[in-house]
């Protein structure tokens, strides 16, 4: 069952780098990350790869396999032909540190710019009551493992470095949507407006809903249909639709 697989791995750092060819053993049931580990153990001990759980739960081992953003731990070798050369490169949208490891600090900067959950006044811990149907939309977004593949694939910042300043990317627009739909979030009562901030601070208008974020999501979260578009519609409610603005009630 074992065979020799051909891998092309990007090796280098911020200054320079190249694709290098390797031949490495592949066994039944293995994933790309297994082969990278075998490379480390047998041929290039200093090959930099970020990984943790190897079960698709932590979102550390993001990279691009044959040009497509993927978790290497969830990319099975069986999807490739035995003779095929498999190219593994670091995520293109972020600065590279070394080999397949990128500097993803952009994401942590953006995470801080989303105002946190605002607890409702007058409710003590243990007094929160929420219905399952009311939490399930935000729960879907909380499945996010922060692999940042959606950020990597989003052309708004992938192809336009200059947009990083004004655009937070699908991951954090979805975070805004999650809080916006949270049944007990009191940010609005405290004077905030999440939908408006999504448009203003986080650049929701930059998104042209081409759905690549949804396509790459390893958790199969419907980022576009369930968070970005509803958020755009909520912005439309407030900003472009005088009728619904008139009818808008808090606490609906």
């Amino acid at each position: 069952m074992a065979y020799q697989a051909h891998l092309q791995v990007w090796r280098g750092d911020a200054d320079s780098g190249e694709l290098r060819d390797y031949t490495v053993e592949a066994n039944e049931g293995e994933v790309v990350l297994d082969l990278l580990h075998r490379l480390q153990a047998t041929q290039c001990p200093d090959l930099a790869v970020r990984w943790n759980c190897k079960a698709g739960k932590c979102g550390s081992c993001s990279a691009e396999v044959n040009g497509r953003p993927r978790l290497t731990c969830m990319t099975r070798m069986s999807v490739f032909a035995e003779g095929e050369t498999i190219t593994v490169t670091p995520m293109r949208t972020f600065p590279v540190i070394k080999d397949l490891v990128c500097d993803v600090s952009y994401n942590y900067v953006k995470a801080r710019e989303v105002p946190s959950f605002t607890p409702p006044e007058g409710l003590e811990p243990g007094e929160y009551r929420m219905q399952q149907v009311d939490v399930q939309r935000s729960q879907e977004f909380r499945k996010c493992i922060e692999c940042f593949l959606c950020q990597d694939t989003c052309h708004v910042i992938r192809d336009h470095e200059e947009n990083k300043e004004s655009f937070s990317g699908p991951r954090f627009l979805m975070r805004v949507a999650e809080l916006e739909m949270h049944p007990l979030d009191s940010y609005e009562e405290a004077g905030g407006n999440r939908a408006e901030e999504a448009r203003g601070e986080h650049g929701l208008g930059m998104c042209n809903i081409t759905k690549c974020c949804t396509d790459v999501c390893p958790e199969h979260i419907q980022i576009t249909d369930n968070s970005l578009i509803p958020l755009k519609e909520r912005v439309a409610d407030q900003r472009y639709d005088p009728i619904t603005r008139f009818f808008r009630r808090k606490k609906d």
Binding site: V96, D134, D225, A236
Partner: protein, 264 residues
């Protein structure tokens, strides 16, 4: 082409994309499909004839609702706008129908990818050096999608009415021809496409944060959500069905072949 991969310490790779699959195929298919429809639509609009088959009571969907004094007798709806005879009636309604599809969240994705290559496919570098998305004029107008949704409901209702009319028998009474069946399918698809719209999903219930307090709207939202999952499929199916019905009525009205009658 810009070369963003060399900026800001990103890993240097020369290729525009390292994708090895045929990533260019879906945008190409979309491009061809949408172009064909637009060309057909333009030709058909300015044809300004063969849209009403009186013996079968078939009205071509491109001409419905027919709101001009120039509409051929029998084809006209409700009220008539006085327009010169050379003025094709669809031009009154078309902006609404087209506007609905043009601002539709699915079609936006489709034409941004296939016509504007922004991006052509996921993880394939786009050819533009600047990008502002839908944050500025004119694309900020996409936010008006819901205003096209309401007329789209009316149009769907009118086409349903047309379909009912098409159940007239040739010699009176009830009759069904192939055209009637096609019109029925088209009406169903149009309704499904219109109701599966993202704005509709938002308006019926998506804007609510506490579904549990609005069980009826939650139920409606659930139903629209199910349809919404097939929005792309419905967008294409209804686009094709409109063209097919229109073509069929045109050929029947033009006398190329008679309608295939099933009942009366």
């Amino acid at each position: 082409m810009s070369a963003p991969t060399t900026r800001a310490g990103r890993a240097r790779t020369s290729a525009r994309t390292l994708r090895t699959d045929r990533w260019w195929l879906p945008p190409l298919v979309t491009f061809v499909g949408l172009s064909l429809f637009v060309i057909y639509g333009l030709v058909r609009t300015f044809m300004n004839q063969w849209y009403w088959a009186p013996e079968y009571h078939y009205l071509a969907p491109f001409y419905s609702p027919c709101l001009s004094t120039s509409c051929v007798p029998g084809a006209s709806h409700l009220f008539d706008v006085p327009l010169p005879g050379w003025f094709p009636p669809p031009i009154i309604v078309l902006p609404f129908v087209l506007g609905f599809r043009l601002t539709c969240y699915y079609y936006r994705k489709a034409y941004y990818r296939s016509f504007w290559a922004s991006p052509p496919a996921c993880a394939v570098t786009e050819p533009h050096s600047r990008y502002t998305g839908e944050s500025r004029f004119p694309l900020i107008l996409q936010n008006a999608h819901r205003y096209f949704f309401y007329p789209a409901l009316l149009v769907a209702a009118v086409l349903t009415y047309d379909t009912v009319i098409a159940f007239h028998g040739v010699g009176g009474g009830v009759g069904v021809g192939l055209g009637t069946v096609l019109m029925l399918i088209n009406a169903v698809l149009l309704w499904a496409y219109t109701l599966s719209c993202h704005s509709c999903r938002h308006l019926v219930g998506g804007r609510i944060n506490h579904f549990s307090r609005h069980p009826v709207r939650y139920w409606m939202w659930t139903q629209v959500t199910k349809l919404n999952g097939r929005h792309m499929m419905l967008a294409w199916a209804s686009l094709i069905s409109v063209a097919v019905v229109d073509l069929y009525v045109m050929l029947v009205a033009g006398g190329v072949f008679p309608d295939l009658r099933l009942i009366n």
